[in-house]
Each structure stands twice: as structure tokens, then as C-alpha cells.
């Protein structure tokens, strides 16, 4: 339980009592000055990764996907592992921006903008892998139903989960992008009105759509945010459910499980929060934003990691239990092979990172130590990558008859493209924190005003009506 000073009941999400003008200054400053040495160092590494991706992808497209370690037994490996990994990362952004908005969680205001940006960049990285796996990326439009079909009167197979994926991910990307841009408009107007240079004035003027802070517009804006949040919430749950159906609708031992959709969604939120935590620690240290991204924010995220990590652990246990209890020989062998076979190291690494590591967050000292949080957030990402690797490769490499068994050995190109996708992601993210308001200025102003006037002054988006969930949240916050 937090010890708050006497008379303070509402948690304070912004340190100190900055004035509104100060909030604008603090958040806009990193965009107007020169970034620190840390930013340049990170950016240089990220760009190297991006160049690696460009080189590797060019080599892959020129030579075909045979340069990957795929074979007849294991036809899906790093490519789909990376795809599921990146899609999962993206889910935390939508959770923070949409679900926490509906639940009226004020702590999201400092972190939602960067989390949403992370979603968009992660989905871009994810989209890269199916595209490369096609071998002929220039024919990628085949995956959409289009008229007239110039390759015969055939349609895509609407019964296939892979086609569902196409729809789910394109919708997810589009809605996330629109939601993010909508949230940016008032801040772009703020930046337009304080811009000194001509180019900045022009660019911000173009994209701020003539926003002038009219309350008649604000009233509609809040309703639209709420509607989009209401749409994005089932959307994000559907996306990873559909991704899991790529596996669950097959008959392969290790894939054919009804627990997959909720298991994948919990895993996605877990990995995504790990990534958000890591990025926010980098951001607050490299951009001096400790006042807005406080230890309390990190603490709350650690609690979400503890919850989702425990859910994921429960799913692992359920899988083993149903393999044993179900009595299916192939299913049972798959799980024995998972824990004792040639890829067992990956399984134990996954258990260490996803089952044991988050349990450290029961201790408040660990939840409030930036160093410990950073280490665990990296472990979470490693663990979740290995989880997907195990589900995909270990299931494929020894399924059914031993005559069809094989091994997957990743090549340098496999590793190169994986590392390169991180290069793309971090290049985009570092550019974002350099050139865009990485904290939602207008939402923070609402929270700051609220803090100073005892909860009657203002509110963040979505505070239109008190929902039962919101009242519950308030009760919990007061109990703390």
C-alpha cells in the first residue's frame, strides 16, 4: 500500500504542481532543442540495425526464402515467430490507449501516446514477415479479394484463418493509426502556435487541421475518442485471437488447443507491457521526463506484468495438463519433447522469463527500482519470443510419424532479419520521441488541473459518464 501525505486521497500521477504553460514547455522542449548524447548513440545503433534489415531483405528477395533455415518438416520458423512476437508487442499500446480509457485509469495519460506509437511501429515490423515469407512480395496484393481478378475467377479462401489475419491486421493497423492521429491533433495545434521556424509552422499547420480548442469541438472529440476506444477494445482482443487461430484451427499437436485465443491475448499484453516498460525507461532517462513518467507509472505497469505473466503461466500449466489428461499419444509426446527434446533449452528459458521473472513483482522494492524493471522488461521480451518459437518450431519439428521429423537450424539470414526488425522498430521510435510530442500534452493538462483542484476541475478523454468500472477504480484508488 502506498503511503500518501495526510489529506491526499487521489494518487498524484504528475510530480510537483507544474503550471499549464510549464507542461507545454516540458513536453515540447525535447523537440525544440538538440537531444542528448544517449539519444544519438541509440539512434546510431538503431540505424545500423535498419541497414542490416535492408541488406538482408534484399538478399532474401534476390535469392528466395531458401536462404532461411526452413525445410520440409519446419516450413514456418523465425518468420512467423517474429510476426506473432511483433503483433503481440503492439497489443499493449491499444490496451493502454483504449481499454484503460474505458476504465478511466488516469495513469495512462503520460504513457498512452508513446504506447500507441509503439503499436503502429510494431505492427509495421510484424507485417514485414508475412510479406518476406511470400518470396514474391510484389504479388502481395493477391491476399486481398479484389475485382476484377486478373488471375482467374478465384477468390481468396474466406474460410482460412490466414485470410482472417489479413483483415484483422489491416483493420488493426488502420484503426490504431487513426486513433493515434486523432489524439495528436490538439497537440499539433499547440506546437503550431508556438513554432518558431517556417517549416515547422507549415507542417504543424497542415496536420493540425485548423484545431483551435473550441469546446464545441472538444465535446464531440471526447465522444469520438470514446467510440473509437469502444471499437478498439474488442478489435485488439480479436486480432490476437485470430492470430492464434492460424495455429489452433490446424490439427497439429501443440497447436490444436481451444485455450489458444485467451492464452495468446494474455501473452500479447504481457510482452507488450514488457516492451512499453523498456521504452518508457529509455525515454524518461534520455529525455528527462521523470516528472511525467513517474515511478508510480512504472509500478502500475509492473502490476499488469505480474497479472498477465501469471495468466500466461496458468496457460502453460493447462496445456501440459490437457496433454496428459487428454490421453492423445501425439499430444503427450509433443509436451514431453517440449521439456526434454532438442529445443528444451528454449522451453526452460521461457519458463525462467515468463513464469519466474514476473513473480518478482510481488515485492514493491523491485516494482519501484528502475534498474530491476529494465532487466525484467528485457527478460519478458526474450521469454515471449521463445514462447512463440517453441509453439511454432517445436510443434512442427516432431509431429506424428518419425519419418516426417526434422530439425530447424536458423541461418545468419534468419538472425539478421530478426535483428534488423529491431533496427526498424527503434529507428522509428527514436525519431518519434525526437520529432513528435511523446506525451499527450492536452491529457496531462487535464490531469494536472484535476490534481490541483481536487478532482472537479477537468478530466482526460472519456470522462463523460461514471461507469461502474470507473467507480470501482476510484474506490480502489481511495483504498490505497
Amino acid at each position: 500500500m502506498d503511503r500518501l501525505p495526510d489529506g491526499v486521497t487521489e494518487p498524484r500521477w504528475i510530480a510537483g504542481a507544474p503550471t499549464l504553460a510549464q507542461v507545454t514547455d516540458d513536453i515540447a522542449r525535447p523537440m525544440e532543442g538538440r537531444p542528448g548524447k544517449l539519444w544519438y548513440a541509440l539512434f546510431a545503433v538503431a540505424v545500423l540495425g535498419l541497414l542490416d534489415l535492408l541488406g538482408m531483405a534484399t538478399y532474401l528477395i534476390a535469392n528466395g526464402i531458401g536462404v532461411w533455415g526452413l525445410n520440409n518438416s519446419v516450413g514456418w520458423a523465425f518468420d512467423i515467430t517474429n510476426f506473432v512476437f511483433w503483433i503481440g508487442i503492439g497489443h499493449a499500446g491499444t490496451l493502454i490507449s483504449a481499454i484503460l480509457l474505458l476504465f478511466r485509469q488516469k495513469w495512462r495519460t503520460s504513457i498512452n501516446r508513446s504506447a500507441e506509437a509503439m503499436t503502429i511501429f510494431a505492427v509495421m515490423c510484424a507485417g514485414l514477415f508475412p510479406l518476406l515469407h511470400m518470396g514474391r512480395p510484389w504479388d502481395a496484393f493477391f491476399i486481398f479479394p479484389y475485382v476484377p481478378n486478373q488471375h482467374g475467377p478465384l477468390w481468396v479462401n474466406f474460410r482460412s484463418p490466414l485470410v482472417w489475419d489479413v483483415f484483422a491486421i489491416s483493420t488493426y493497423f488502420t484503426i490504431s493509426l487513426v486513433f493515434w492521429y486523432l489524439g495528436l491533433i490538439p497537440d499539433l495545434a499547440t506546437l503550431r502556435d508556438r513554432a518558431a521556424g517556417r517549416i515547422k509552422k507549415l507542417v504543424f499547420g497542415l496536420f493540425s487541421l485548423g484545431w483551435n480548442g473550441s469546446h464545441r469541438t472538444w465535446a464531440r472529440y471526447e465522444v469520438v475518442s470514446l467510440v473509437l476506444a469502444g471499437l478498439a477494445t474488442p478489435l485488439v482482443l480479436s486480432v490476437h485471437s485470430i492470430v492464434s487461430m492460424d495455429f489452433a484451427t490446424s490439427l497439429l499437436p501443440g497447436w490444436h488447443a481451444t485455450i489458444f485465443p485467451p492464452y495468446f491475448v494474455a501473452g500479447a499484453i504481457y510482452s507488450g507491457f514488457g516492451m512499453v516498460l523498456m521504452l518508457l525507461i529509455i525515454t524518461r532517462q534520455s529525455m528527462n521526463l521523470q516528472r511525467y513518467i513517474t515511478i508510480r507509472h512504472l509500478d502500475s505497469m509492473a502490476k499488469v506484468l505480474l497479472l498477465t505473466g501469471s495468466l500466461v503461466s496458468y496457460a502453460y500449466a493447462t496445456e501440459f495438463f490437457s496433454a496428459w489428461y487428454g490421453g492423445n499419444l501425439y499430444e503427450r509426446y509433443h509436451f514431453i519433447n517440449r521439456a526434454t527434446g532438442p529445443y528444451a533449452f528454449g522451453f526452460y528459458l521461457m519458463v525462467l522469463c515468463n513464469v519466474i521473472a514476473p513473480q518478482l513483482f510481488w515485492w514493491k522494492r523491485i516494482r519501484t527500482s528502475v534498474g530491476a524493471l529494465f532487466v525484467v522488461s528485457i527478460l519478458v521480451n526474450i521469454g515471449m519470443w521463445f514462447e512463440r518459437f517453441i509453439i511454432i518450431v517445436v510443434s512442427l519439428h516432431r509431429a506424428f510419424l518419425p519419418s516426417g521429423w526434422g530439425m530447424f537450424y536458423p541461418t545468419l539470414i534468419d538472425f539478421g532479419i530478426l535483428i534488423g526488425s529491431f533496427g526498424l522498430f527503434f529507428t522509428l521510435f527514436l525519431l518519434f520521441i525526437r520529432y513528435m510530442p511523446m506525451i499527450a500534452i492536452w491529457e496531462v493538462k487535464g490531469v494536472v488541473t484535476d490534481q490541483q483542484h481536487g478532482g472537479h476541475g477537468a478530466h482526460g478523454a472519456g470522462d463523460v459518464h461514471a461507469t461502474p468500472a470507473a467507480l470501482l477504480t476510484q474506490a480502489v484508488n481511495h483504498a490505497e
Partner: protein
């Protein structure tokens, strides 16, 4: 045609809210309020009606649903029936994921488009700012300038009384 307005600026939310309530009580016509963030309680104080945008979401979402179901039905049953594992041509259950996604896509995009149209926001629009700093830390109440001199004086007195930092006359495209 531009009309004359009175622009009163406030440094704090309280003064603004008080002024809006008082002005409406005095039967002065509030044109709009400009603020750097959505101020709680202004909807009621200004007497803004609920927006009808959620209805557009519903209509657009249903359109997306019908479109997705008919596209899949047309492709799989009418245009080119294909036997996949002996399943029936009209496998409605397998059509649900795509139908859901298109419902969300149509609903979301149409709502945002309708919002931008209704709020008349478009790229490169020149914003009308009643006072400097309304996108930073200034709250501005904009009243239609009363025609009668006596009402005008009463409005000025009221705004000063409520703690307005400045009261100026301006022109706005109403």
C-alpha cells in the same frame, strides 16, 4: 459574414466556468469557449446537446457487417463455390471474423470522417484563434456582442466581475 464578438480570457478553469454560468443566466449568447483541454462541466454550463456521432458509428458499422457477409456469401456461394474439406458453401461461422473486422473498420473510419466534417477540420485550414495561448494555457469565453449598449455594458461588467484577465472585441465568422 463576420460578426462582432466579445472575447474574455481567463487564467483558470474556475473563473471560466463561473463566467459561462453567469452569462447564460443573464441571457447573453455564448458563441463558444476555447480551452487547451476538455474542461469538465462545460457541456452542462454551455448547454451543449449530445452529439449524434455515435448513431453514425452504428449505421456505418452495420453497413460494414452487411457488406462483409454479402461479399463472402457472394464469393463462396454464388460466384465460385469451392469445396474445401467437404464443408458447406455457406459456412457462416467461418465468415464471422472478417465480418467483425469490417464492422469495426467501417464504423471507426466513418465516425472519424464524420467528426472532421462536422467540426470543419481539414488540412491546412487557417485556425481562428480568439486569443493567443488558447492552445497553451489560456481559457477564452467568446460571447456574441449584444446589440443594445446597455446589455453590452452589463456583459463587460459581468466578465470583469468573474475575474477575466482581459476583455476585447473581435470579429468571428459565425
Amino acid at each position: 459574414m463576420p460578426s462582432n464578438v466579445l472575447v474574455a480570457t481567463f487564467p483558470h478553469v474556475e473563473g471560466l466556468l463561473h463566467a459561462v454560468r453567469q452569462a447564460r443566466r443573464e441571457m447573453l449568447r455564448v458563441y463558444d469557449v476555447f480551452a487547451p483541454f476538455p474542461v469538465h462541466g462545460l457541456d452542462e454550463a454551455m448547454g451543449i446537446r449530445h452529439t449524434r456521432l455515435p448513431k453514425i458509428t452504428l449505421i456505418a458499422g452495420l453497413t460494414g457487417l452487411v457488406f462483409a457477409l454479402s461479399l463472402q456469401f457472394y464469393a463462396n456461394v454464388l460466384d465460385w463455390p469451392l469445396n474445401v474439406g467437404g464443408k458447406p458453401d455457406n459456412t457462416t461461422l467461418a465468415f464471422i471474423p472478417i465480418s467483425f473486422e469490417l464492422t469495426v473498420l467501417f464504423g471507426g473510419l466513418t465516425t472519424v470522417a464524420a467528426f472532421l466534417l462536422r467540426a470543419k477540420l481539414y488540412p491546412s485550414k487557417r485556425p481562428w484563434l480568439p486569443a493567443t495561448g488558447v492552445t497553451d494555457d489560456v481559457f477564452a469565453l467568446v460571447l456574441r456582442k449584444p446589440a443594445a449598449e446597455e446589455t453590452h455594458q452589463r456583459a463587460l461588467a459581468l466578465l470583469t466581475e468573474c475575474g477575466a484577465a482581459s476583455v476585447t472585441e473581435s470579429e468571428a465568422e459565425l
